[in-house]
């Protein structure tokens, strides 16, 4: 059988060779035979069965899906960690509600280089404080995670984010004329400030804080952000302590009380304006509480503050922007003195 087949194959090759020889006279039988075997082996290499093709395609689809799924899981894990981190930062700020003590500084060390986004929303009953974090992994900043929101916190920091591995947080109560809230100042260890010509009370407070990125005197600290009080050369931030404004990047930021002065120094104008607007909203709610408290305790205690509190509320309701704090400063002083003598409301 085999011999018969081989003879038929040889006959077929000879016949094909003779036909080819007519068109190409230089062709030899040996070269023709080797060429025909080569072309056959090439054909057999491409001859993949449908089963294999199907397996390859479906295998590739499974691999793509697996890679896509794994990337999604990693991204979800990353954003989960960031969301937890943002929430934790917010929660850790709770103890900074310090009552009547003066400013206290707390360091916050993180595992890796992190950006803390400070988002402020002025709309609503009290406005909202948003915190987001983004981490540096493989030399790339991840997209900021889910935002954590708080109505009762006021964070002053660089906008839109402050970056670093170690941060410093200090807080100070803002009284206008009663305590409105504790303001939180967030700075990274890379943001360094030196204070030049600060009044004695500010100098005492900064030295008491003992915060590594805040120093008194700017003579030897050239890479620091220079904060000048009164006159000074090459100032990055100029504080006019008597006229209650901070000059920063050609912007005039108005303040009342030392708590807001620090806020103007450590934060950007947008964040400052938004947070002061939120603080004024809370002031209005507290004024309403004290107004009603005055009626409740009038049998036991006469304060005579009702009309002033009413006026304060109406000014805040008609306020156009944050600069209302300057408009009401005299009224605030008056209310403060009246309450001091009556000792009734706060």
């Amino acid at each position: 059988m085999l011999k018969k087949g081989a003879r038929a194959k040889a006959r077929y090759l000879n016949k094909t060779f003779r036909l080819q020889k007519r068109s190409t006279p230089a062709l030899t039988l040996e070269s023709f035979k080797s060429n025909s075997i080569l072309s056959k082996s090439k054909r057999s290499q491409l001859n993949i069965s449908f089963g294999w093709l199907f397996a390859i395609i479906v295998g590739a689809v499974i691999l793509v899906l697996a890679i896509y799924g794994a990337t999604k899981v990693i991204k979800t894990g990353q954003s989960e960690e960031q969301a937890v981190g943002a929430k934790e930062i917010g929660i850790l700020l709770n103890p900074l509600e310090i009552g009547f003590e003066s400013a206290i500084s707390t360091p916050l060390s993180l595992r890796i280089e992190t950006r803390i986004f400070n988002n402020c929303y002025p709309s609503g009953n009290f406005g909202k404080q948003g915190i987001q974090t983004s981490e540096l992994s493989f030399n790339r900043w991840s997209t900021p995670g889910v935002e954590s929101n708080f109505e009762n916190k006021y964070i002053f920091s660089k906008s839109p984010y402050t970056e670093g591995k170690k941060f410093y947080i200090f807080s100070k109560p803002f009284e206008f004329p009663f305590k409105i809230s504790d303001l939180i100042y967030l700075t990274s260890e890379d943001e360094k400030y030196c204070f030049d010509g600060a009044p004695e009370n500010i100098e005492d407070e900064i030295s008491q804080l003992n915060q590594a990125n805040l120093v008194l005197g700017c003579a030897e600290n050239l890479d620091y952000t220079k904060v000048c009080f009164g006159s000074g050369a090459n100032c990055d931030i100029a504080v006019n302590y008597n006229s209650n404004y901070v000059q920063k990047n050609q912007d005039k930021i108005y303040f009342e009380e030392d708590a807001l002065m620090y806020a103007a120094i450590f934060s950007d104008k947008e964040i400052y304006e938004c947070q002061v607007e939120r603080l004024m909203k809370r002031t209005k709610h507290l004024l309403n509480l004290y107004l009603k408290k005055e009626i409740l305790v009038q049998k036991n205690c006469k304060s005579d503050l009702g009309s002033d509190l009413d006026l304060f509320i109406s000014i805040l309701e008609n306020a156009k922007d944050y600069k209302v704090i300057n408009e009401v400063s005299e009224l605030v002083e008056e209310i403060k003195i009246k309450n001091k003598y009556s000792s009734c409301l706060w």
Binding site: A66, G77, V84, I91, N94, E151, N152
Partner: protein
């Protein structure tokens, strides 16, 4: 016969591949379930931490604190102010969330002892022992505080500060 055998092989392979995909999908679901159960625990732990830290400092926040008006300053709640706050608590709510983002806040008097915790309202204000600012269910974190208010001595015709021992409770819910 030949085409039928090859068809069988393809069918076998297709079923095998589907089985592999289902297997991977199940493994993925298992991992996701484990991951999400961890997330719930984390969320509850964060809520607990928030409540614990909040309760220790809530008395010092301006809506609660005694201020300079009363001599006791730290961890002192102005009972008059909190009573007014209770009547205006809706202003401190946005949708189903409140200003402090907890499920409940209660203030109770514990000394002088009063076995019946009577909720305060405008009729029983002098003799009540409990103010529920935000009524909600959940696990509570608590802290001792002094509860102070202005009283009037009708015999001596003077007003004085009356302070009692109390507790502030902050409630939080487990993540579902």
């Amino acid at each position: 016969m030949k085409p039928k055998k090859s068809q069988m092989k393809i069918q076998q392979m297709a079923f095998m591949l589907i089985a592999v995909m289902v297997f991977f999908a199940l493994v993925g679901l298992l991992i996701a379930a484990i991951g999400f159960s961890g997330l719930k625990e984390k969320a509850t732990a964060l809520q607990e931490k928030n409540a614990m830290l909040l309760v220790s400092k809530l008395a010092n926040s301006p809506e609660f604190s005694c201020g300079e008006d009363f001599k006791s300053q730290e961890n002192c709640i102005d009972f008059d102010k909190v009573f007014i706050l209770k009547e205006n608590i809706n202003k401190y709510k946005t949708g189903n969330k409140n200003f402090w983002r907890v499920s409940g806040i209660e203030i109770i008097k514990i000394y002088p002892k009063n076995s019946n915790f009577i909720e305060c309202n405008s009729n029983n204000y002098q003799d009540c022992s409990k103010i529920t600012l935000i009524s909600g269910q959940g696990i509570s974190a608590e802290n001792f505080v002094s509860l102070c208010r202005k009283e009037f001595d009708s015999e001596k015709f003077i007003s004085y500060d009356k302070c009692e021992l109390g507790k502030i409770l902050v409630k939080y819910e487990k993540a579902q």
